[in-house]
């Protein structure tokens, strides 16, 4: 365990070197927040649409921003580079578990993301004139679901990056993942707005846990019972993906060819 803590600490200390990159990673998410706030303010000015009121949508979008900014330090790029260049061979001989190492690194970068999220969310809440905080049980459920976003998002990105063992470039895979994630997680638009069949697929997919679940719990759109169910689904996907990723890793390493040099 000590090895992983050390790795996490290493990233936590080193991340300030890349503070501009971290900021940059958040600019895209921030711009989406600005655009969607403007869109919904216009649409919800007079009456709620599909049961969402303007204050609810504000909170939804702020939670969306927080979820988007979590685990966004682009360590996947480094991993993709190491796989494609063959440097991953060095990782294979290290006496640590590859998946746990990457997770430890993701956890290390978390603190800076949380700081940035708090800055943006508090200033946005101040600009928008306050934010309602849900009551005790819902708040606790929201916190659990936000905590689960961290491993869930890490795993989805990790599994996507493992595709680099089969492809030559990472960009296409990354873009496709981002596109699917933004739609099926409810980050672009709440899942309730999607056509019924697509909404149902999205709701049971691993992506819903990335945004929709914590956001709906926060704004009180789902009650405590339904919220518990959604969080259980989120947790289920974390477990499935954690072990699924191990199987995928095993298959990937088996067909890895690294040129000498």
């Amino acid at each position: 365990m000590g090895a992983y803590t050390a790795q996490a600490r290493g990233v936590a200390l080193g991340i300030l070197e890349y503070r501009v990159n971290v900021l940059l990673g958040i600019v895209a998410t921030l711009m989406q927040l600005v655009a969607l706030l403007a869109v919904w303010q216009v649409l919800l000015a007079d009456s709620p649409v599909q049961g969402f009121t303007w204050p609810q949508m504000q909170a939804y979008l702020l939670v969306t921003f927080a979820c988007g900014a979590l685990v966004s330090t682009n360590s996947d790029f480094r991993m993709a580079f190491r796989i494609q260049s063959g440097l991953v061979a060095l990782d294979l001989v290290k006496p640590v578990d590859y998946q746990r190492s990457r997770f430890a690194e993701a956890l290390g970068g978390l603190w800076l993301e949380v700081v940035l999220i708090l800055i943006v969310v508090t200033s946005a809440a101040a600009l928008l004139g306050g934010l309602t905080v849900p009551a005790g049980p819902a708040l606790a459920l929201f916190a659990i679901s936000m905590l689960l976003v961290v491993p869930l998002k890490f795993l989805i990105v990790y599994v996507g990056t493992l595709a680099c063992f089969w492809t030559q470039s990472y960009m296409g895979v990354q873009w496709a993942r981002i596109a699917v994630m933004s739609l099926l997680s409810g980050a672009l638009i709440p899942l309730a707005y999607l056509p019924g069949w697509l909404g149902t697929i999205a709701q049971w997919s691993p992506f819903a846990g990335l945004t929709s679940t914590p956001a709906l719990i926060y704004i009180g759109r789902v009650g405590f019972g339904d919220g518990m169910m959604l969080v259980a689904v989120e947790l289920g996907w974390v477990i499935v993906l954690w072990f699924g990723a191990r199987l995928l890793w095993r298959a990937a390493v088996r067909q890895l060819t690294v040129n000498g040099g």
Partner: protein, 259 residues
Amino acid sequence: MRIYCRLLGAHLRALLEYEADFWILAAATVLMQVVNIVFLAALFAKVPSLNGWTFWAVVMMFGAVALAEGVGSLFFEGMWRLAWQINMGELDYFLVRPYPVVLQSSSALIGINGLSNIVVGGAMIGAAIAHSEIAWSPWRVAVGVLLLISAIVIKLSINLATNSVSFWLSSPSPIFAFAVHQVGDLARFPLSIYPAALKAGLGIVLPFAFVSFFPVAYLLDEGSNRWIGLLTPLVAVYCAAVALTVFKRGLRRYESAGN
């Protein structure tokens, strides 16, 4: 022009070596636009219009941004490498060749995702035009084409100007340009929904609104102040001049990498 095509052609051939990747990239770009369309369709299924703008008008704005971005990726992707070229001293090679440095830099890379963005963006604009009631006349067609070209020039100029900032910042990656590019995504929505400060920012400081909103508003003959769309060519000339000046000023500061 001929040389430029040959430079790009070389990169294209290199790229096609990895055919599977080519298709993954193309499919991913299309998927991103499909997601945008699904988002807009889902939104407008529940509301009739966004601040007076219909589904098709907004699709046209999204399409214009995608098309301009596509042209940038396919023909001028090298601009995004400028920071790296400066940092690594790669501009040395360009400086001794008898061909404009800015063109050598911008043709140093080809972004094949641009092709699918051009196709999908064009299709979005086409579909939007088919669903709108524009009274077409030869004059209107000519203006439409002129506005489209101007919009693309503006996007390219902003890319060039912001990437040229790398002459002053010593970072090997175009962080500033990338951040500005993200701001440009705001212009996919009608400018009228934003607060005044953002309107001024996107209309004047970084005229992204002239890539999509103003030309579309003029063409569809909708919204207040639709005449502003006619200024697009002037804005394009201004942006191109500023971008080239920034690049030249920057180039004068360039002092290789020292090896």
